[in-house]
């Protein structure tokens, strides 16, 4: 359908629409009901992150794989434990990216 054909229908529909509704005290009534703004506090997030990182560190501390992988990486040796460590870091990074993108889309 061409725009030329659509125009009379658009014009009719716009004419039929009554447009903006006058305020008539609506805004005033709503402002009286408006609650105070709650500011989002950031500390629970940071406490959670630190607690999670601490718990993760404590549970991995006893594992030889982590120490081995780290020393191999530092020594420039690409051993199985070093590759496992790299894959774990890459996996966590990807998960974080995916979570961030999903959160951004939801907003």
């Amino acid at each position: 359908m061409s725009h030329q054909h659509d125009d009379p229908i658009d014009a009719l529909l716009q004419k039929q629409f009554k447009g903006s509704v006058p305020d008539d005290g609506f805004s005033e009534r709503l402002m009286q009901r408006l609650p105070p703004r709650r500011h989002r506090v950031a500390w629970p997030l940071w406490v959670g992150l630190l607690a999670g990182a601490g718990a993760c560190w404590l549970s991995l501390l006893a594992m030889p794989l982590l120490h081995l992988g780290w020393s191999d990486l530092m020594g420039g040796e690409l051993s199985a434990s070093a590759i496992t460590l790299l894959l774990a870091i890459a996996g966590v990074s990807l998960l974080t990216c995916w979570w961030t993108i999903t959160e951004a889309d939801d907003r």
């Binding site: 658009d10 009719l12 716009q14 004419k15 006058p22 805004s27 408006l34």
Partner: protein
């Protein structure tokens, strides 16, 4: 409204949102409310087929939600579009709680209506023809044509794929054109005689 005006309006809205967020400035939000309440209530009145009381209740709910979620407005869409989206979501939630009459009337009822001869009657026929459209077609035409949103903005407000919005708009207009064709023929005849 021309494009330049629309850009200026969007800029004013963004500035007001920033002020409202900065210190919870209620006066800035009040200005946003006064600027947009008319169109939001008009949107709801159309969606609710003229139930003014319910439309105002839902409009209040939508603005209170907008106030709570204001920090989630990032300026990717116009503020008015973001507000229409919140309003439409409130409307859908209300429909889920209490199913609303769609305003859809059957073909036989419309066919039995007498043909009426002047401009006022054309408006009445248009109203009836609109009610013959599917709910999705009515909603898309309301946002695309009557509220003046682009098809992309309509897709954002209705959380609908752009292709679906285009299809509903084209089909809805084609149906209206067919049903209102006798009016056009009469007008053409009057012009030639």
């Amino acid at each position: 409204m021309c494009v330049a005006d629309s850009v200026v309006e969007a800029r004013i809205d963004r500035a007001l949102v920033a002020r409202a967020l900065l210190d919870g400035d209620r006066r800035a939000f009040e200005q946003l409310l006064r600027r947009h309440q008319g169109m939001v209530r008009a949107q709801l009145r159309r969606l609710l087929h003229g139930d003014h009381a319910m439309a105002d209740d839902l409009a209040q709910e939508a603005f209170l939600l907008a106030w709570r979620k204001l920090d989630q407005f990032r300026g990717e869409a116009r503020f008015s579009t973001w507000l229409y989206r919140i309003t439409y979501s409130c409307f859908l939630q209300a429909c889920r709680k209490k199913p609303w009459p769609s305003g859809h009337i059957d073909d036989d009822a419309v066919d039995q209506l007498p043909a009426l001869p002047d401009a006022v009657d054309l408006q009445l026929d248009l109203e009836r023809a609109m009610q013959r459209l599917s709910t999705a077609e009515q909603t898309v035409l309301l946002h695309c044509v009557q509220l003046g949103l682009s098809q992309e903005e309509t897709a954002y407000v209705l959380v609908m794929p752009l292709g679906t919005v285009k299809t509903h708009a084209t089909r809805g207009k084609a149906k209206l054109k067919t049903w209102l064709a006798p009016w056009r023929e009469t007008a053409d005849e009057e012009r030639t005689s």
